[in-house]
């Protein structure tokens, strides 16, 4: 992942935000979506993505559905009710974090945040 230290703490929020928008997604789809949105700037590796997905599932924020697609089994992830509430909280935290960072880095600039 590019600038991994900066993005690491936000990975779960990124995943949850994407699932909130898209309903349900599978691992590879998430990596491609992020790559697409960031025009290839951010590349989530399997080594970071799957442990994060499994941790979110273990914490009860994600549900898993398994389907047979193109000769293989595919695990789809979707937000649970708790996960949806948690996404709202984490996005609010992330917005606040970005606002604070923006104020620290360039105090005159007021970002137009849209989540």
């Amino acid at each position: 992942m590019k600038n991994s230290q900066l993005y690491k703490g936000s990975l779960n929020t990124i995943i949850m935000k994407l699932l909130e928008e898209n309903g349900r997604m599978y691992g590879y789809e998430i990596t491609q979506k992020v790559k697409g949105i960031t025009a290839g700037e951010l590349n989530i590796t399997e080594g970071a993505l799957y442990p994060a997905l499994h941790k979110l599932e273990a914490d009860g924020f994600l549900d898993v559905e398994v389907e047979k697609v193109d000769n293989r089994l595919r695990k789809y992830y979707k937000l649970t009710e708790n996960g949806q509430k948690e996404t709202i909280n984490r996005l609010a935290e992330l917005e606040e974090f970005i606002r604070n960072m923006q104020n620290l880095v360039s105090p005159s600039h007021k970002p137009d945040l849209q989540f």
Partner: protein, 204 residues
């Protein structure tokens, strides 16, 4: 280009060879690699070899991380099951039966009987997991892993047996075996719960 069923089994076999042992993790990685290879032009075998060669270490590291996560999840579930009413009912029932049997037997017989019950309860959880692992080889899930671990509960049980004779009261003996038997039964319930979840997930 979409991969064939045979090519999917080749990916699965490569992952097994790399050391990705748990089905739950391998299923996900097989799909990931297949999706990635479908997006790449060129010969499938060469692309797969290149992928595995480039990601071998990362895959193993990731596998370890996921296995640890699965174990944490399993033991969390075990802990939660111990806090449930089911555990209290099991504990109470086992204690009542043991106390009833205690009235009919001398100390030696009751200790040996309860120890045998504990061994049977423990084996009924772990042996199916051992058989399942031997039969299915590399198709096992975390349920079997937890079941196997139950075997290790038997060792402290055997070692502690020599101290049980010195317990001053029969109540301590009964409580000691009730705890061991109840934990074994709860572990068995947890393993069954995991197996049912996995079955539901992968076989509908």
């Amino acid at each position: 280009m979409k991969l064939t069923e045979y090519q999917i089994t080749v990916i699965d076999a490569s992952l097994k060879k790399t050391g990705i042992i748990y089905t739950d993790i391998r299923v996900e990685m097989t799909d990931h690699i297949a999706s990635e290879l479908e997006d790449i032009e060129g010969d499938f075998n060469t692309n797969l070899e290149n992928y595995i060669a480039a990601h071998k270490k990362k895959l193993r590291r990731q596998n370890t991380k996921l296995v640890v996560l699965a174990w944490v999840k399993s033991w969390k579930a075990m802990g939660l099951n111990i806090l449930k009413v089911r555990f209290l009912v099991t504990f109470f029932a086992v204690y009542c039966v043991a106390a009833g049997v205690n009235m009919l037997m001398d100390r030696y017989s009751i200790i040996m009987t309860l120890f045998m019950v504990f061994c049977v309860a423990n084996s009924s959880v772990s042996l199916p997991s051992v058989v399942s692992i031997l039969k299915k080889k590399d198709q096992y899930s975390i349920g079997e892993g937890v079941g196997i671990l139950n075997l290790f509960v038997i060792f402290p049980g055997i070692i502690a047996l020599k101290f049980v004779w010195d317990f001053s009261s029969d109540v301590f003996v009964l409580l000691y075996f009730t705890i061991l038997i109840s934990i074994s039964l709860t572990l068995g319930y947890t393993v069954r719960m995991f197996k049912a979840q996995i079955k539901l997930k992968y076989h509908g």
